[in-house]
Structure formats: C-alpha cells, structure tokens
Subunit: 294 residues, 2 copies
Amino acid sequence: MTADPRLSMNQATIKYASLDEALQVTAQGGYRSIGLWREPVQAIGLDAAARRLADSGLRLSTYCRGGFFTMPEGAERRASIDDNRRGIDEAATLAAAGAPGSTAVFVLVAGGIPDGSNDLIGARARVADALGELAPHAAAAGVTLAIEPLHPMYGSDRAVVSTLKQALDLAAPFDPATVGVTVDTFHIWWDPEVLPQIARAGAEGRIATYQVCDWKTPLPADVLLGRHYMGDGVIDFATLTTAVEATGYDRDIEVEIFNQQIWDSPWPEVVARTAESFDSTVVPHLAASVRRRS
Amino acid sequence: MTADPRLSMNQATIKYASLDEALQVTAQGGYRSIGLWREPVQAIGLDAAARRLADSGLRLSTYCRGGFFTMPEGAERRASIDDNRRGIDEAATLAAAGAPGSTAVFVLVAGGIPDGSNDLIGARARVADALGELAPHAAAAGVTLAIEPLHPMYGSDRAVVSTLKQALDLAAPFDPATVGVTVDTFHIWWDPEVLPQIARAGAEGRIATYQVCDWKTPLPADVLLGRHYMGDGVIDFATLTTAVEATGYDRDIEVEIFNQQIWDSPWPEVVARTAESFDSTVVPHLAASVRRRS
C-alpha cells in the first residue's frame, strides 16, 4: 500500500490500537509518519516506545499532548507544569528515535475555565504564564510547543484558546522554534480571520503542525467526537491547504479524527480510508515544490 | 411582581406560549418589554398581534427573526428575500403598536452553508448581497436589521456569520440606523476579541439589541438548546454588560433561552426566574445613568 509521503497518521484516529499495533498498521498502510499520544507511549514505557518507533522506520510528526494549565496557582497547577515538562522530554526522546525528518512538536491544549469560576480572562492569563514557565525547558530540549486553538464549542471545558490569532498572540513573546501553533482544520475552518492568520502564522514561522479532518452537522451527542474523514463534511480543504502551503510549510500533515464509528472500524480499513481521503482532498493542493520528504 | 425596567422577555424563552399568553405572563411578571417571534404573530395575524401588543402596554424590543439567505440565486433565494421584506414590515407595524420606547429591530440569522457545498466564502458573500437588497426596504420602513453572529458551532448549518467583528464588517457599508448587530452573550462570550468589538460596535452606533443567557457544558444532544439562566453557567455578565453599557447602549435587554427543561416549566415560574437571574447577574452592571426607560 502507498500513501502520500507527507501524510501522517495521528494515533488518536485509531485510538484503541496499542503503540505497537498503531506503528505496524500505519507502516503497513504505506505511511511514513505518525503522531503519537502519551497514554499508549506510557503504557509500554518511554524507552521501549522509542525503540519501537525507531524499528518502525516512521517519522514522528507530533507528540500529543500537554497543556491543561488554566487552574490557579497551587498543587494541581504545579503537577500540571511538571507533567508538561515530562511530556516535553518524552517528545524530544521520541523525535530523536524517529526516522530522519521527525519533528519534536508537543501539542498543547490550554484547558478550560476552572470549575466554579467564570473568569475566562484570568484563565487565559494563566496559559500565558504557563508558557513562560515551560518555554525554557522546551528550548533546552529542542522541542516546539504547539499551542492548539480549539473550536469555541470547547471554550469553557477544554480550551480557553479559541482562535489562531489568539494562539499566535500567546506565542508572540517566544522564539518560534520554541512556541508555535497547531493549525487544525476542524477547530478553525469557521473563523472569518483564518486566512490572514494562517499567512501571519507562516510569516512568523509558527506553524508547528498542520492537522486535518472534516466538520459535519448534526454534531454527535458527545461533541468531542464530531470529526470525519476529509470530504465527508463542509470544510474547504483546497482553500485552507493552499493557504498553509503558501507559507512554505513543508512538514508532515496529520489526520486526527475522533469519531466513535471510525474507532470501532478495523484499523487497516481506517488507515486506508484516511489515505484515500487525504489523496482526494489535500494532496491536490500541496505545493509541488514541497516533496523533499518523499 | 416587579422586574428591572430594562428587562425584556424574548418570547422564545417561553416558546410554547401563544402570543396572548406570552404578553399576559410577561406583563404580569412586571416586565415592560418583550421580544416577539414571527410564528406566534403569524398564528393570529399581524393586525390582531399589533392590537394585542398595544393592549398589553409592553414595549417591543426586537422582532425575531429573518435572514437565512445564503443560498445561491434562484427561486428559493427570491422567496427568502421576499419573506425578509415582509418580516421588516411586520417589525415596523409591531414597533409602532408597542408602548413608547419600542424599537423596530429585526434580528437576522445568516443561514448556513447550502447543502452539498463547502463554499463558506461564497455563502458569506451572499449574506452581504442580501443585506444590500434588504437595506433600502428596511430604511424606508424605519427598521434596523440586526445581524446576529451565532456561535461557531452553528457555522455550517445555521449561520456563516460567527463573530461580532464579522457582523460589524458586514454592517459597515450601511447606515447604522438601518443595519446593526445583535450582541448575544451566548454566541460571543468565548471570543478573544469580544471586548474591543463591543466597543467598536458602540462607537459605530450599531448595537441594535443586547441579549443575555448563559453557556454551560456539557452541551445537550441538541446543541441549539444549551442555553441557561444567567448565573447557571460560565459567562462573565459583569464584564460583558459593563462593556455594552460603556458604549451608551440604553435599550432594553432581552433574555432569550432555548432550553427544553425551561420550555417545559410553568411560564410564570420562567418569567420570575428570568427576572431573578437578570437582577443578580446583569442589573448590578447597568449604567446608573441609563434608567430613563423606568
């Protein structure tokens, strides 16, 4: 089987696969890259996970995920910051173990408004504070923190960072090699400012990862799981992909789909269907000049 | 019973009440203002509705709602534009029949991406076109069209206008007396740009109506119905209300809640609970100077 050389399987798309299973089915699907999640890595231990990744021959595109640091100062916040430091170290180890062209990108989801609070502005300020704490550690480890704006429907319980502009404003004080952004079509497709902000992200060197999947309504009862194969919804991948490619973005492109039906499907089928979906919606809009990874 | 003199009951909060029932329970609750919806008005006819409103002694704050004009040119689009013209005329008639201080505001929801399309940008352009068609009619009727940005979770199926900035940009070519915006806390609370855009809306004279209700997660299975009494969720009504009042906004403030449990509650209870919720969350932040409506 073959897949576009820049396509990366985000492990969450085959959520119930162990790390070994995910690496195997992804490589067998002709992919050259994978985005890993912390839980399956921790299930077998970091050192073992790094060896398995190295053995797979796959690149690492991102490591998911950290963040969740909107709580006020205290033990819980300290535990979160410490856990993020460990995540940064894990990302560095895994990226070093992956095939050449791996990128040490640690995806960050900000976290929601703390329970019982309605202080959105304060929660956002604590995201900025956390980045300030983590950036030196990330810089030392050679890891890029990729702030991910999440769709505003998650604005209260998962991420007080809701737009690409906001993520870029948060990243602005830091070296782009240390703090960048995640551009995920599912979260930003609706934003009237998305095209100028993608251009800005590129100009500032901050697109750490480009992730794709589709949006369709009605949303499922669990709105976390409303993601779809590209082409099954309303997102204009031509316009968004062209905008990202126009910035010179030349990294792998991840497909990250949270969808119960897809999770319940056989993994080889998901891997194949993901590649087909990518071929028909994204690949036609990739810059011809950016084939170096093949 | 009493209620703050600027509080207006949006009829959708007591969705199953007929127009007569809604007018009666609202007046009995001590309110001085109501926002009406087209369906209950049409159920008894415009002339009868205008008489009943006049008899109630209530002001009209808004008339809900028009819009839904993102489809491409053709019979369906013509029918929508014509229906919006009728809605404008109805708003003018009802505002004239309401108590002094009534405002002729026709709320517009843009409409979603047409079925089978992924052309979000085209759909948005057709909203601008529709405003251009309707503005002369609204100006002649003395009605303000109030573009309502809807939360981005409705971006595909209900409204391709998702932010206050976008609504203001759409309104910009027109006289503020003819095209303004709806500032509804449920839709815009998450927006990192909300405070400067509220200030801008005020400076440009475009806040046609301020509507309040709360946001809470988890969202219900039908995400349209995830609205709550103020204080039951995460929205910071102090900050948002202060920002709106700082612009000099001096109109009525509507409470518009879509919530199955509230719809299924006795109307007098809903009317009372709405007033209490308004008193505790919004009233403390009203500008003391803006009491003229009392």
